[in-house]
């Protein structure tokens, strides 16, 4: 189903959603940084910048409680978190590089054991994608097989038009439900010309060849040149739309407290550090190798998809300028 919505109706749609208590998450400025956050009103929305953190936060939170415990005497009582309490959410203004990562994560979070924390939030979130019209030289979505107008992962996809309106296309019943609930705001598609899409990276990486190279070059001296400068922080993994590693930690006293699931990153020294002192990945190049391997080989071996959507955030935030596009491009040329 194709519809058209004007800019004013779009803000009205958001305000109506907020009024009904639905949590509308969209890019907004938070103390000077563009982030996906719940809106108090549609005026807060910032559409021209790529948010600093990815949209994965809406269904794979930075930190969340997975259980609380309380000890009386020798007995401990634990209370579960009821997934029914996850709020209904409409995720708006999601660029294709964020939206395409969502179905990729579905695979790991429903591999054999169903992680309801992720999947229930997924069911309760309607994703309104937005075609991308601004890119810089860190973006490389086209190089990993996506495009600024890729609708994968979006329930409803908006393409901005000249003069402010959007063409909306639905790709799931959640998208259709969103339109049906607010039909008065949507009109029939007119023939306004869409805004020109962004042109990020020109040539496409041969990901098959990269995977083959990675298969054979686990022990390769080039890992040192690639990652010797890496200082082992978690910035690239935390801003990445596809990274999904986490830590489970108890916080509280022996009497009472919470068990939390927090973001974690394979770049950290203590990620694979054993209590005995042994660390299978003791040097930084080994840890960074795992990041590239997981994204371009392991996830493909296990789930047949690439764990990278070319959003370029890790290139922009890397403290020491490590450029994943440069690395993968060089590998695809070897």
């Amino acid at each position: 189903m194709q519809k058209y919505i004007s800019r004013q109706n779009f803000t009205k749609l958001l305000d109506q959603l907020i009024a009904t208590g639905t949590r509308v998450v969209a890019p907004r400025m938070n103390a000077g940084t563009p982030l996906y956050e719940p809106l108090a009103s549609s005026a807060e929305m910032v559409m021209d910048q790529l948010p600093r953190r990815s949209a994965k936060e809406a269904y794979f939170p930075v930190c969340e409680d997975i259980m609380t415990y309380e000890k009386e005497g020798q007995k401990v009582s634990i209370t579960d978190i009821d997934p029914a309490r996850f709020p209904e959410t409409v995720l708006v203004g999601v660029r294709p590089c964020d939206a395409c990562a969502i179905p990729v994560l579905d695979a790991v979070f429903s591999w054999d054991y169903k992680d309801e924390f992720f999947l229930e939030r997924r069911r309760k979130t309607t994703i309104v994608g937005l075609a991308c019209t601004t890119s810089d030289d860190a973006c490389f979505c086209t190089a990993v097989g996506l495009s600024p107008a890729d609708t994968k992962g979006s329930d409803l996809f908006l393409t901005p038009l000249e003069g402010g309106g959007y063409v909306c296309e639905t790709f799931s019943d959640k998208g259709e439900a969103l339109i049906n609930d607010h039909t008065s705001l949507f009109n029939e598609p007119n023939n306004a010309t869409p805004l020109p899409l962004a042109q990020p990276y020109t040539e496409k990486f041969d990901l098959k060849k990269v995977k083959v190279w990675l298969d054979e070059h686990f022990e390769d001296s080039s890992w040192d040149e690639i990652a010797l400068r890496c200082v082992g922080c978690g910035a690239c993994a935390f801003v990445c739309p596809a990274c999904h590693c986490f830590d489970i930690v108890d916080e509280g006293t022996e009497k009472a407290g919470k068990r939390r699931k927090n973001w974690d990153a394979c770049g950290f020294w203590k990620f694979t550090h054993h209590a005995s002192g042994h660390n299978p990945r003791d040097q930084q190049p080994k840890r960074y190798r795992n990041r590239i391997m997981h994204k371009f080989k392991y996830y493909d071996d296990k789930f047949g998809q690439t764990l990278c959507t070319g959003c370029g955030r890790c290139i922009r935030v890397c403290p020491v300028g490590i450029d994943i596009a440069q690395i993968v491009e060089e590998i695809s040329k070897k």
């Binding site: 401990v76 634990i78 790991v108 054991y113 489970i248």
Partner: protein
């Protein structure tokens, strides 16, 4: 694999500590009985699987389920207190509550071992992951050929399950080769003296229709595999279990991978062929 009825896959079953056994000054075995009637009935696992044990307030830790699947109504875990969680577990007394999440991972393909001889090679605190299989096989003793156990530790006091070692020694249908590292033997030590790989070479069990089960610190595995090769064991006849650092046990948290192998899902039990195919990252 017991299916997880409750939605929250991170929720542990509650268990009460029914017995505390000090194996060595810093290694302890806890016997756990599930509090929930229903869980106690149909908690089933296979030898080689592991679980995540919770000490509430400290976190979770990964060890194998050390008791045999043939013994119903309880499970046992054996751990050395080295970190925050294991020290919190050590403070638990009989009657205290503890969380158990699992069973996770694959298991020893015990059906394939029927009719074969079994050779257990292990050292120090790596006996528990094999002990579950040893007792499982001893409970179905007639299904197997002869069983040899080669077990060593640094010193006499570092040997775990001392009572059971005694029992196995007295049994006619089990050949136990006990050893301690050179200099670790006390005055009335009746076992061998020497490192496990060298003692294994002396014992020289025959390799035909024999399965070798190896578990121990990486250094021991590095020296044991060549000895087994020399004795004629092919890579498919040797099984081992990797104790990598794990957190969720469900293949989600990305912590335990060795190459593209998730030790918590594709393991922890591997054949020597699989281990040799893995990159050196464990």
């Amino acid at each position: 694999m017991s299916d997880h009825t409750n939605k929250n896959i991170y929720l542990p079953y509650m268990a009460t500590v029914s017995e505390v056994i000090d194996e060595t000054p810093d290694v302890r075995t806890l016997k756990l009985v599930f509090q929930d009637e229903q869980v106690r009935e149909n908690f089933s696992f296979r030898a080689g699987q592991f679980a995540e044990y919770s000490a509430f307030g400290a976190g979770e830790s990964t060890f194998c389920i050390a008791s045999s699947p043939t013994r119903k109504g309880f499970i046992e875990c054996c751990f050395r207190s080295v970190g925050r969680v294991t020290e919190a577990l050590r403070r638990l007394e009989v009657g205290d509550t503890m969380g158990v999440r699992g069973p996770y991972g694959n298991s020893f393909p015990i059906e394939e071992f029927f009719g074969k001889n079994l050779l257990f090679v292990t050292g120090g605190i790596a006996l528990p992951p094999l002990r579950t299989l040893i007792w499982n096989c001893l409970d179905w003793r007639d299904k197997f050929g002869d069983i040899t156990i080669v077990y060593g530790a640094r010193t006499e006091s570092d040997l775990v399950y001392k009572r059971e070692l005694q029992e196995w020694q007295e049994r006619a249908d089990v050949r136990l080769v006990k050893t301690v590292d050179p200099g670790g033997n006390g005055p009335e030590w009746d076992g061998k003296v020497g490192f496990v790989p060298t003692v294994l070479e002396e014992a020289a069990p025959s390799a035909d229709s024999t399965i070798a089960l190896v578990c121990g610190p990486p250094i021991m595995i590095k020296f044991t595999l060549p000895v087994l090769e020399k004795l004629g064991f092919t890579d498919d006849q040797v099984y081992t279990t990797l104790e990598n650092r794990m957190k969720c046990g469900l293949g989600k948290c990305g912590r335990c991978n060795v190459g593209n192998v998730y030790v918590c899902k594709d393991g922890p039990v591997f054949t020597a062929r699989q281990v040799k195919a893995m990159p050196l990252e464990f």
